[in-house]
């Protein structure tokens, strides 16, 4: 009976979009809350993934291939961002001991 009930529910693109919104919000929470630069990058990856998920869901709903093509561009930008970010973090670590972003306050007046 439960299976019949579940079968009644048709897959809905709004589910995917709301799931993506939830993941994006969790990623934003992480960016606001965390102090370690590496964990900040992970949270940014989380947000980028949420956006990718909504792209793919809308590509399926609208039967449009462009939504999937854009995902690859987001993917490459995310990879480049991690590479540069880690380079900067490693360069900073040579002068300091911790990867905490709160300690980097040279620009503070």
């Amino acid at each position: 009976m439960i299976a019949a009930l579940i079968a009644e529910i048709k897959p809905n693109s709004t589910w995917y979009l709301v799931l993506a919104a939830l993941l994006f919000a969790i990623g934003t929470l992480g960016v606001m809350v965390r102090r370690n630069a590496l964990v900040l990058f992970m949270c940014i990856e989380l947000m980028l993934n949420a956006v990718n998920l909504s792209f793919v869901a809308l590509a399926k709903e609208m039967d449009d291939i462009n939504g999937q093509a854009v995902v690859f561009f987001v993917l490459v930008v995310a990879a480049a961002e991690v590479v540069i970010g880690l380079g900067i973090v490693v360069a900073i670590m040579r002068k300091r001991v911790s990867a905490s972003v709160d300690d980097l306050a040279e620009l503070k007046g």
Binding site: A3, I6, A7, K10, P11, S13, T14, W15, Y16, L17, V18, L19, A21, L22, A25, I26, G27, T28, L29, M32, V33, R34, R35, N36, L38, V39, M42, C43, E45, L46, N49, N52, L53, V56, A57, A59, K60, E61, I65, Q68, A69, V71, F73, L75, V76, V77, A78, A79, A80, E81, V82, V83, I84, L86, G87, I88, V90, M93, R94, V97
Partner: protein
Amino acid sequence: MVAQNIFFAIFAVIMVVGALRVVTSNNVVHAALWLVTVLAGAAGQYILLSAEFVAVTQVLVYIGAVMVLFLFGTMLTRARLGEETDLNNKTWILGIPVALLLFGTMSYALIDSFGDEKLPEDATVVSTQVISDQIFGPYLIPFWALSFVLLAATIGAIVLARKD
């Protein structure tokens, strides 16, 4: 359709739990490994959305390459491999209402505009050929530009991380 509903729910739960653990874990390595579950769940969702090539690329690039970068970064920055106590801001409690507000606004807007639009039931699986025709056709110039972005990122990372 039953299978898609059930697997959507399973993957969604895995992804949300993993994402929450990324944000709350006190251990950098654990956070990285929880991120893997989120990325794998996303790959599963892509397969459910009949986007096979995107799913495979997700596994190769994110779970393969980006995760290795993160773990290398953890080792290179001499982050403590065990528990850390001060991984959160002092004002972390303020982040929760902001994130809830963001989620509420976004989901309201999404439900309001997309409502209960159903996914097309007989959508064909998008083959890799169609995607490559798209990327190497209309998207060729952006693809080239992006290749140079990646090249610049590689050179920039070497310049930044080199010891002089």
